[in-house]
Assembly symmetry: none
Homo-oligomer: 229 residues x 2
């Protein structure tokens, strides 16, 4: 889920934008004030900025330059005046896109989506960061599909890995064997849920110090299993 910061003094517009973006399941923060917005932008991690050019107090140009000076994050600039857009485009202050008010919220969403995708494509691939889950001594590398227990690698089969990862991703929640079977196994696979039990056992053998007293995957008698976070 991507985080977006809107710096915009007109509350009604900011809220409209937020509503549309939230429907597309983005996490949105609003700053109605330029100075605070700049501070918020620099102090926290966002995936994209939507910045109004006409702000009381600080100049939108300056905010854009200041953000770009520190970060490569996409910036979409918004202005009521078409002329301004042409002007700033020429200035080359590092904004990624420019929109003239009024615009349709769905177009904003489309552009946000496109910019996030490109950024991910260009930076995400270069900065080869593997997705990791780490809980106490257990480390799961999702991209490499490797599991480490206290730094030591343990080999996992496909189903074992998928099952462990699912549980570790949803800790402190009890899942029945049926639920786990439906989640990890294919729709069609009409199978005995006993296979879940067997897989849990095999996972425990690989990650638990004492299988009869499991620290990670707990048995909830008569209900199912729970991953302890």
């Amino acid at each position: 889920m991507s985080k977006i910061l809107i710096i915009e003094d007109e509350e009604s517009i900011a809220e409209l934008e937020r509503d549309y973006l939230e429907i597309s399941s983005y996490e949105v923060t609003i700053c109605n004030d330029g100075e605070k917005g700049l501070k918020e932008a620099l102090d926290n991690e966002y995936d994209l900025y939507i910045l109004d050019l006409m702000l009381p107090g600080v100049d939108g140009f300056e905010i854009c330059k200041a953000i770009r000076n520190k970060k490569n994050t996409p910036i979409i600039m918004v202005s009521a005046k078409k002329d301004d857009i042409d002007k700033i485009r020429g200035l080359g202050l590092g904004a990624d896109d420019y929109m003239t008010k009024p615009f349709s919220p769905s177009e904003l969403v489309a552009r946000v989506k496109a910019h996030l995708a490109r950024y991910e494509r260009l930076v995400g691939s270069a900065g080869f960061e593997n997705e990791m889950i780490e809980i106490r001594g257990l480390k799961i590398d999702k991209t490499a599909r490797r599991v480490y227990v206290n730094g030591e690698e343990r080999t996992f089969t496909t189903k074992e890995f998928d099952l462990l990862t699912f549980l570790a991703q949803n800790p402190n929640r009890v899942f029945s064997k049926e639920e786990l079977f439906n989640k990890i196994w294919d729709m069609e696979s009409i199978g005995d849920i006993a296979t879940v039990t067997v897989h849990i056992k095999k996972i425990r053998e690989k990650i638990e110090y004492d299988t009869s007293n499991p620290q990670y995957i707990e048995t909830i008698w008569g209900v199912g299993y729970r991953f302890r976070a």
Copy 2:
């Protein structure tokens, strides 16, 4: 000096674009034919592509997708119809910008400049692609397309080399056979992914000391292959 490829069937337009771009000291190549354009785009190194959507023969959509499948280079799509622009934006086929004809050449130049600057900002610094990959005893010279195992050269065919290089460039990541096929083979090639297996085997024969216990390309049973860094 950046190299730009224009794929555009209307010669007069292409030449106008070229003239303006050359004034801004870009190096411009023109292809008046879609199919040749795609081949040129994939076979050579360009810094930006300007692609007309309406081309006789090959579909502009397909060219865009095919380029994006292989490269992260900026693509500016051009179309005479405003409707098309809206349509492709929604498709998300990876173009970076969309312009409706007619447009002022200076605007084109401005956009080209902006895209090149962004690309440089995002990729130029961080994702510096090395021409030489060296991992343990394995050395891959990408420009010369030579592979050495413990200093000794091994000859590789085109597909073998491409596949090995791709995996070595993305180590510690599991790729399914489908993914590998899509990355290394051309768009059109509707083939059996079994050919991936065979190629992996052939690569292993050339780089592995013991093929049944591979040190470089590991088999992730039921998922795919992973290059161990």
